[in-house]
């Protein structure tokens, strides 16, 4: 294990150094500064914006989980995650199209409408799942609310 780790670290550092040398030999220094700002911005974006958002969404889902069944929550969570990832991929595509294409075969679709339709479908799934969950919770022979307030 120890030998393997040492070999891996040495190989990894060498490959990183090769990448850095390729960078400085093929990209102009002022462009490397531009890259550096984007690298820092990526970390900040993740740590300061995305992570708190994900944690907040998780806590909300966890609170919802007190009254709704696990199946409902899994469906809601799946729809939210899929919808978020699709938005993350397609919103830049919409911006790129807005920015103008070199020819009409690049970005040929109306991505705004398509994204709205898909997100609308996912929202429909979420609403149906929540309604089913609430109805089920009300019909439950052992009321959840009582159990919660019994504490």
């Amino acid at each position: 294990m120890r030998a393997a780790r040492i070999v891996l670290v040495v190989v990894g550092v060498l490959v990183m150094a090769f990448g850095a040398s390729v960078l400085v030999t093929t990209v102009r220094p002022d462009r490397i500064w531009g890259l550096a700002t984007w690298l820092v911005a990526a970390v900040v974006l993740h740590d300061v914006v995305l992570s708190p958002f994900v944690v907040g969404a998780g806590l909300l889902l966890r609170r919802t989980g007190r009254t709704l069944g696990a199946g409902v929550l899994v469906v809601v969570q799946t729809a939210v995650v899929l919808g978020s990832v699709l938005a993350l991929v397609v919103l830049p595509e919409i911006a790129a199209k807005h920015h103008g294409q070199k020819n009409p075969t690049v970005l040929p679709f109306d991505y705004t409408t398509r994204l709205l339709v898909v997100e609308g479908l996912l929202l429909g799934v979420v609403v149906v799942a929540l309604v089913v969950g609430v109805v089920r919770a009300r019909r439950s022979p052992e009321p959840l609310v009582a159990a919660t307030t019994n504490q």
Binding site: V40, R66, A70, L86
Partner: protein, 516 residues
């Protein structure tokens, strides 16, 4: 600061955020990275070969496959990377933030890996949209960062090797009830609070050390609100999983709470919680503070306790939370790939909702990257006196279109495959390159330089290896799908060769030279 970090860890606690999940998502992400790296380096070398390099010309769809895979795997990385970053989030709030020089270097290497990965995937996606809002050149940076990422990934694997080995198999990571087995001996930063490797733990107040208890202050109140735990005095209400928790289980939890809270305050005074527990000891995971302490003490006393002594509901709850997370990330990965991969995969074409390209859209039902107008060849390419110059080692000849046809034509079914991932098969008709070379008494297996009528552009002049020049399917194409080439597809003549990126299939050709 310390308090802030501890509060952050408490908020982030979740059954999905453990060392085993990090290994599972890390494996998938690692495979995707290696696939992207291999296909990317191949594509780069096709465009900038080292002098001694020769490439396979069969199967003719090789590049279509490798580059389609590159883009598809790259898109799949987006949800996988988000899942992995979500799983390892508590490691951001390590206490203390730095444990020494090695730990600092390790965290720096992870920062490089994370930021380079985000930028690499993000700019790669933008490149498929042909949008360049970033202040650096795409191709050179993408190539250089690929090595930085793979190198820092190897360093990351090296530093986490004991954790990876320990949690490689599910049966070593979860007990029979489905609870995560926390093993503090392998140095993971993703164990339930109080059990991760942390030398300075003895300085913490006893109640803070208690695994999974609610922190004091605003964070604790927030978490109690989330879990509906009413008793602020009790430090031991379950720090429940973030993602889906079964209501039945929550109900059961609550019945335990009163008893638990008394036991925990007892246990906490004993200052236990970081005792070196062997791998067999059941660890309560995020949600059962008291049991880990009891388990640790009972093991010291030499008695093996079965998992049934713990809250048996905790395991299924953790399991549901984990499976819910796996379901969500799987759906996101499959969804985002299925709705975009139709640009390079015929089978997924009907599902192409968000792809940057659509097959059969464009002149002669073929997409275009660079138009004749953009290339500035509207006049030169349509000139009636266009001729092709072929320069052999000893003989130079010029051909009009009619003279080219007189050399004899052949057809070949070859894909046009772009570095940006889209591809489409087409039927091309034209003069075989080796026939053209024979007409100037050159060896068919000669490396070539092919020059376009374009005035400028990175791919105005391209080079072709001898293996492509000699291949019987490599054509100087004059027609596509039974029609004369459209101006945007390279009229009067273009190169089409098997297994090469679209940027090297030079359009609007003016001159072909044998390189000596």
């Amino acid at each position: 600061m310390r308090r802030l970090l501890l509060d952050a860890r408490a908020v982030m606690a979740s059954p999905n955020r453990n060392a085993r999940s990090a290994v599972v998502w890390g494996r998938l992400l690692g495979i995707a990275f290696v696939v992207c790296f291999g296909t990317g380096v191949y594509s780069h070398l096709l465009q900038d070969p080292l002098p001694w390099m020769r490439f396979p010309t069969r199967p003719v769809q090789l590049y279509q496959f490798t580059q389609g895979l590159h883009i598809t795997a790259g898109i799949a990385i987006i949800p996988l990377l988000l899942a992995k970053l979500n799983v390892v989030m508590p490691a951001l709030a390590q206490v203390p933030p730095v444990r020494g020089v090695l730990h600092l270097l390790e965290r720096l290497s992870i920062a490089v890996l994370v930021s380079a990965s985000i930028v690499q995937v993000g700019t790669g996606l933008l490149n498929t949209y042909q949008w360049y809002p970033f202040p650096f050149p795409f191709r050179q940076t993408h190539n250089a960062m690929a090595y930085v990422i793979i190198g820092s990934l190897v360093v990351h694997i090296a530093s986490k090797l004991p954790v990876i080995a320990r949690y490689w198999r599910a049966r070593d990571a979860y007990d029979a009830e489905g609870r995560f087995v926390a093993d503090p001996t392998v140095g993971s930063e993703l164990l339930p609070d109080g059990r991760e490797a942390r030398p300075a733990v003895g300085e913490r107040p006893a109640d803070e050390q208690t695994v999974g208890s609610y922190p004091r202050g605003l964070t604790g109140r927030l978490l109690r609100w989330v879990d509906g735990a009413a008793a602020p005095a009790a430090p031991a209400a379950p720090a429940a999983p973030a993602a889906p928790a079964a209501p039945a289980a929550s109900r059961a939890e609550r019945q335990f709470t009163d008893r638990e809270s008394r036991e925990v305050s007892q246990d906490a005074k004993n200052g236990a919680g970081t005792t070196g527990v062997g791998e067999e000891a059941e660890a309560g995971g995020a949600s059962r503070p008291a049991h880990t302490d009891r388990a640790a003490r009972s093991e010291q006393a030499g008695s093996q306790r079965g998992p049934e002594h713990d809250d048996t509901r905790s395991g299924p709850r953790q399991r549901i939370a984990r499976r819910g997370f796996v379901a969500a990330v799987t759906a996101a990965t499959v969804g985002v790939v299925a709705l975009t991969a139709g640009q390079s995969n015929r089978l997924l074409e009907p599902l192409n909702v968000f792809g940057a390209r659509q097959r059969h859209v464009g002149p002669q039902a073929l997409p275009v990257n660079r138009t004749a107008r953009a290339a500035g060849v509207l006049a030169t390419a349509t000139a009636a006196d266009w001729t092709l110059t072929v320069v052999g080692p000893d003989v130079t000849r010029t051909f009009s279109r009619a003279e080219l046809v007189a050399l004899g034509t052949a057809t070949a079914d070859l894909p046009i495959s772009c570095v940006e991932g889209w591809s489409q098969m087409a039927s091309w008709r034209g003069v075989r390159m080796r026939d053209l070379l024979a007409s100037v008494q050159a060896d068919p297996a000669s490396p070539l330089r092919i020059t376009s009528l374009e005035q400028r552009g990175g791919y105005r002049a391209t080079e072709m290896g001898a293996e492509y020049a000699a291949d019987p399917t490599t054509l100087l194409a004059l027609e596509v799908n039974g029609q004369t080439l459209d101006l945007d597809h390279g009229f009067p003549a273009r190169v089409i060769a098997p297994g090469r990126p679209g940027v090297l299939q030079t359009k609007w050709i003016g001159k072909i030279e044998v390189i000596r």
